[in-house]
């Protein structure tokens, strides 16, 4: 007896218990929630001639004036110096932590907390104690990078092949075991990741200019803010060249010369007054009622904080909007750089566009867009979506390029929708959820530009020297980011295995 299956209806694809259906449900749910909340987002344009302004900016980019900045080379070298030494200090601090990372819950929590606060917020904090000095710049990069290195190095070391280590005699000491059988196996991935972080550190170093340290960002900000677009264009080109030529000037062999050469550039070194430092740490950053032991006054102190709910709401909303925006940008943009589509010319064009979007620091991109639209969520949304979308698109295209389509003749949209996207989509979502943590951190940060997220209140609290309030707000920001991190890790596709019939074994080292 034959039984015909009913044709699949519109929504039947969503119902299954397979990975594909679950990812589709997740994606549609995210887009639906975003659309639902969009009316609450402030997307207004408050400047009156945004297109004219954009035209002037583009003209500045096309006709850069390299003579306008007083000492561009010094700013460029200082940007490199902060990034390089920041990363080196980050490794020195982070590597030992990586070795105990998997064993110590305390280290893991501490690292998650330190990572949850953006480099620029760290800079704002250190600025109060060390002023506009090399210590502020180096600590602002080294501290969060150490926490990141600890986590990622530990993950890399946990994934290496254990077989070579098992053949060693049981009396081999720990250090020899590590340097002979673990480090060599992990070396390539460790150095590859460190190299990637150095590029990130260059962007962070540029951004330090926004709080007043004399890196490229400092000159970029003032040039753009004052409408000197020809000068701003020249500085922006200098930055793109720096990133594009990275493989040549940042060659491994040149590492030591660069370290020694830039060591003399680092500065100025502050004279730290120990009494003031102690006053800051023991008194200024703590809520007054807590210090005086007057617990009853604590609610009063809390009510003195700026109106937090709208700021938190905006932060989360912008985070969600930008995550969805990044996904859409990535889905549209990855074919531009994939070998399966277009010809050599379109790919080169696509590649350069995406490189520009990816290498421009988000804050800078948002800052430029903000000059066009005025302070609302709109420039921040566009900037975060473009930057992170371009980043994901690159990795997605690389993944797609490894795939050989099963049917040789299909092209264009059919190839995209039937052969490639179904295979790389889980990867794209995994990358997106990895990125969500970063997007969240940056969302708060964009407040420094006047968008009313948590960063706006943090920035103004520091400005009014209300350190207790600033630190409390930083804590709240960090907690929100850590929460989003946990959520995105839960949603990430590699955390969505096919339902198994057997219960999963308990992870080793976890107490029951």
């Amino acid at each position: 007896m034959s039984r015909t299956e009913a044709p699949a209806g519109w929504f039947s694809w969503l119902r299954g218990d397979n990975v594909g259906a679950r990812l589709l449900r997740l994606t549609l749910a995210m887009i639906a929630i975003t659309l639902l909340l969009l009316p609450w987002a402030d997307l207004s344009i408050t400047t009156h001639d945004p297109w004219g302004e954009l035209g002037r900016m583009l003209k500045g980019m096309l006709l850069p004036d390299i003579t306008a900045t007083e000492s561009p080379l010094r700013a460029l070298l200082l940007t490199i110096a902060f990034a390089l030494w920041g990363v080196v200090l980050g490794i020195v601090l982070g590597f030992p932590l990586a070795l105990i990372f998997m064993r110590s819950r305390l280290v893991r929590t501490l690292c998650a907390f330190v990572r949850a606060i953006h480099e620029l917020f760290w800079a704002l904090l250190f600025l109060q104690v060390f002023g506009l000095s090399a210590i502020t710049a180096l600590a602002a990069i080294a501290l969060p990078y150490a926490a990141t290195f600890a986590k990622v190095y530990a993950e890399i070391l946990a994934q290496i092949d254990r077989r070579p280590a098992r053949m060693l005699s049981s009396r081999t000491d720990r250090l020899s075991r590590f340097v002979y059988t673990e480090l060599p196996l992990a070396w390539q991935r460790l150095s590859g990741y460190t190299r990637y972080r150095f590029e990130c550190a260059l962007r962070a170093s540029v951004l330090l200019g926004f709080v007043g340290l004399p890196t490229l960002g400092y000159y970029l900000e003032s040039a753009f803010r004052q409408g000197r677009y020809h000068e701003g264009g020249a500085l922006l080109w200098a930055f793109y060249l720096l990133i594009a030529l990275l493989p040549w000037w940042a060659h491994r062999r040149l590492l030591v010369p660069w370290l020694l050469g830039t060591a003399f550039l680092l500065g100025p070194w502050p004279s730290v007054n120990p009494t003031l430092l102690w006053q800051f740490l023991s008194h200024d950053i703590w809520p007054q009622p807590l210090l005086s032991g007057d617990i009853a006054a604590l609610p009063g102190w809390f009510s003195g904080l700026p109106d937090l709910l709208p700021a938190i709401g905006n932060t989360l909303l912008l985070g969600l909007m930008s995550t969805v925006g990044s996904l859409l940008v990535a889905l549209l943009a990855w074919p531009l750089v994939s070998r399966h589509f277009g010809n050599r010319a379109t790919r080169t064009l696509g590649r350069s566009t995406l490189i520009v979007m990816r290498s421009t620091p988000e804050l800078l991109l948002a800052f430029i867009l903000l000059l066009l639209t005025g302070p609302s969520l709109l420039p921040a949304w566009i900037a975060l979506s473009l930057h992170n979308g371009a980043l994901i698109a690159f990795l997605a295209a690389r993944h797609a390029d490894e795939i050989r389509p099963g049917l040789p003749d299909i092209r264009g949209i059919n190839l995209y929708s039937h052969e490639l996207l179904p295979r790389i989509y889980p990867g794209i979502l995994a990358l997106l959820f990895y990125r969500a943590e970063v997007i969240m951190r940056e969302t708060a940060l964009l407040g420094m530009l006047g968008v009313v997220t948590l960063g706006f209140h943090i920035d103004s609290s520091f400005e009014y020297l209300m350190f207790d309030q600033a630190v409390a707000l930083l804590m709240i920001t960090a907690l929100i980011n850590m929460g989003v991190d946990v959520l995105s890790r839960r949603l990430r596709p590699d955390a969505l295995p096919e339902r198994r019939h057997q219960p999963r074994p308990a992870p080793v080292g976890d107490s029951v």
Partner: protein, 231 residues
């Protein structure tokens, strides 16, 4: 010159044994009840289909003998990103201090280099010591793994298919070398002719049991067919 140490075999000459032992691998019982004695001076070839438990038995022996045994795993236990020299040197990591090991990683110790290059010459690895292991051929990698086991200078050699990916003639030469440098050998093999010609005692495994345990000169190639029959 590599000299051979001796094990203290106890009164009966037994250096390792299992008495109704239960051996398992990854929570999966491979040998429910294993009884086996290995005498000093035994040259044992371990035969059986793949997946029959040869590696589990070798692993258990290795744990029993601890520092008496030179262990030669399959070639995938090498560190692909280190040089052949360093991979061979790793055989004696526990013998040197951690600082010696660390310095040797950056600048090879001259005495060790001398000793290892002599060893490499006898294995046909001359001129390849500086080469990173993942740039060597499968046969060369296997010889590096053997060199590492020889460099450990232990009385008992335990090998998991040490000559699987070299040509037969070279396989014979390598087995002779291994036999010459060790008092006792336990080697898993899949070439039964090599097993009969170069070993004194044949142990055949099937289905979690020892089904053959006899001197090699009492067996013929056809006696071993039973090990490879799939029903």
């Amino acid at each position: 010159m590599l000299d051979t140490a001796t094990v203290d075999p106890g009164a009966s000459g037994v250096i390792a044994g299992f008495d109704h032992a239960c051996l398992s691998h990854d929570d999966h019982i491979v040998f429910p009840e294993l009884t086996l004695r290995i005498q000093q001076g035994d040259r044992i070839a371990l035969l059986g289909r793949s997946g029959v438990g040869k590696s589990t038995l070798l692993e258990a022996l290795r744990l029993r003998l601890d520092d008496q045994s030179a262990w030669c795993p399959q070639a995938n236990a090498l560190v692909p990103t280190l040089s052949a020299y360093h991979n061979i040197y790793m055989g004696r990591l526990a013998h040197f201090s951690r600082w010696q090991n660390l310095i040797n990683l950056l600048r090879p110790d001259p005495t060790c280099w001398q000793e290892i290059s002599e060893l490499a010459d006898t294995l046909g690895l001359d001129g390849l010591l500086r080469r990173q292991v993942d740039q060597l051929s499968g046969g060369q990698q296997q010889r590096v793994a053997i060199a590492r086991a020889l460099y450990q200078k232990r009385p008992v050699f335990i090998g998991d298919e040490p000559v699987a990916s070299v040509d037969p003639r070279q396989g014979v030469r390598l087995l002779d070398l291994i036999n010459a440098r060790h008092q006792t050998c336990v080697v898993a093999l899949h070439q039964r002719e090599l097993a009969l010609a170069h070993f004194d005692r044949i142990i055949g495994l099937d289905d979690g049991r020892i089904i053959i345990d006899a001197p090699a000169n009492e067996l013929s190639a056809s006696d071993l067919d039973v090990l490879y029959v799939t029903d």
